[in-house]
Amino acid sequence: MTVLILAIMVICAICGAPLFVFFGGLALLLFAHNGIDTSAVIIEMYRMASAPALVAIPLFTFAGYMMAESKTPARLVNFTRALVGWMPGGLAIVCLIACAFFTAFTGASGITIIALGGLLYPVLIKEKYSERFSSGLVTTSGSLGLLFPPSLPLILYGIIARVNIDELFMAGLIPGILLIIALSFYSIHSGIKTKVERQKFCLKEIKKTFWEAIWIVPLPLIILGGIYGGIFTASEAAAVTVVYVLFVELVIYRDLKPFKDVPKIAADSMILVGGVLIILGCAMGLTNFLVDAEVPAKLIAFMRQHISSKYTFLMLLNVCLLIVGCLMDIFSAIIVVVPLILPIASEFGVHPIHLGIIFLTNLEIGYSTPPVGLNLFISSYRLGKPISELCRASLPFLLIFIICLFIITYVPDISLGLIQLLKGG
């Protein structure tokens, strides 16, 4: 009987049933099968209310959505354009930086492509970037910035893996910058090859756009400065960000109307947050069950028999995660896969923070890969292009991503160096 129900559940999940229903149902089934009262599933779920950093997720997402709905994307683009627009491939670099900034705040939900893709794509075409390059750039940039604080997946990983979120924020910085630099070089190369038009370097323009964006540009510094200066914790930083963004958007720029826009944005952003957190809640019972059943220990034993070196393990990890990233959304993947992989990784001597960065970089690639890459669908909707065309256009970008992934995987210091430096000094 249990096997039959299990089969039905798996089929439903593959056919597109909500994942929280699948995880919740699976937990109920496994608990009942082992003679444990099903209310124990809810006890696990309520542990959600004991995770201290969780409050950061709704608050940062709310702040990010408010910025995305205002004229902030345009301001940020104007400023970065004045700054690097004179370089060959400058506009493409603008796209990379602006997308990274927004993804970090909106939790890589695809809203970056909605807010920025439509804004940047026509300009890219106008400046004579090739159609393929432009659509590939916009599509893959939609998840760039995942490694920068305070991105939702980063916080979620910190909570699940029980690692210090402050350190995780630090660890993502250099790998994130590495990705942007690598993609920038490719953009410069393409810019030279297709002989795109360049803007003139104009100090006056930089000054003008800087003053227009002055309230938004320092926001990451305020967050990081506050956290590392010991003024507030990561979750308090989220509340400070919301108050700051509310003040900037309602009082200074007046892009948003307090009674018309804010409640609507709050509800819209909480649809995403609610969707992620309910999966977290439902999966808590499940992962706890798997740990009690010593599944990770059995996996370790199995791996030990077949794999001896850390490097083979990392290689296998990358392959597995790339497949997971192709099939699952990033949030569910973190919630379900991390508790299983974490003990195995530590057995092979992989630092949990390094694992987090590897994990997120892999899943960042999964955003733009068929068959279920979220970026592909959103950008196909936003740019009105068929998915198959976008897949081909994304290929060179994904190749660069994969090269960076290997560097990040096999050189742990890129992720851990900054933390050690700060701890030591």
Binding site: S39, V41, V55, I57, A266, V273
Partner: protein
């Protein structure tokens, strides 16, 4: 008949949204106040952190209720994208039924949990009892179950009359 149904449906969604906004903004307010009090006045609110953590539980369930109404839950949507319109509609009946039943079981399990917690009668903060905060769990799951049951009815009606709009087509995002 359908008008009354739509009115109740919309009104209920507005109420959920309003509570969500209030909970969200209060969490922001209390947490921000805590930062100000600690850094400038060397004092603090003892229940701020605890309150914030429990507010997340409410945000999670209220948000999930809205996500259910807008059919915006995360799922593996590969198969539905490949199917034709007609077979997709039939598949939806099965998926909504599956979700409705599981949510009902989750609601039942959480009701047992909250009733047990109520017997212990522990206070969380400021006179708020733990079970009161937790009661959002059975409430949320029951409402989601109801929403999926409504979905089944609409799905079936739609097979015979394709002009009926699907749940989530009107509400929700782009």
């Amino acid at each position: 008949m359908t008008k009354i149904f739509q009115f109740i449906d919309c009104a209920f969604a507005r109420i959920v949204e309003s509570i969500l906004v209030v909970v969200l903004l209060s969490t922001v307010g209390v947490t921000f106040l805590q930062v100000i009090l600690r850094n400038f006045f060397n004092t603090g609110i003892t229940w701020a952190e605890l309150g914030g953590r429990n507010a997340v539980l409410w945000i999670a369930f209220l948000g999930a209720m809205l996500a259910t109404r807008a059919r915006q839950h995360l799922s593996i949507d590969l198969v539905t994208k490949l199917l034709s319109r007609k077979s997709r509609n039939s598949l939806r009946v099965a998926l909504d039924a599956f979700a409705a039943v599981i949510c009902l079981f989750l609601a039942k399990a959480s009701l047992t949990f909250v009733l047990e917690e109520r017997l212990m009668d522990t206070e969380l903060f400021l006179g708020v009892k733990t079970w009161m905060v937790q009661s959002i769990i059975p409430f949320g799951f029951s409402m989601m179950s109801l929403e999926y049951f409504i979905g089944i009815v609409l799905d079936i009606l739609r097979i015979f009359n394709p002009s009926i709009s699907r749940r989530g087509d009107s509400g929700g995002q782009k």
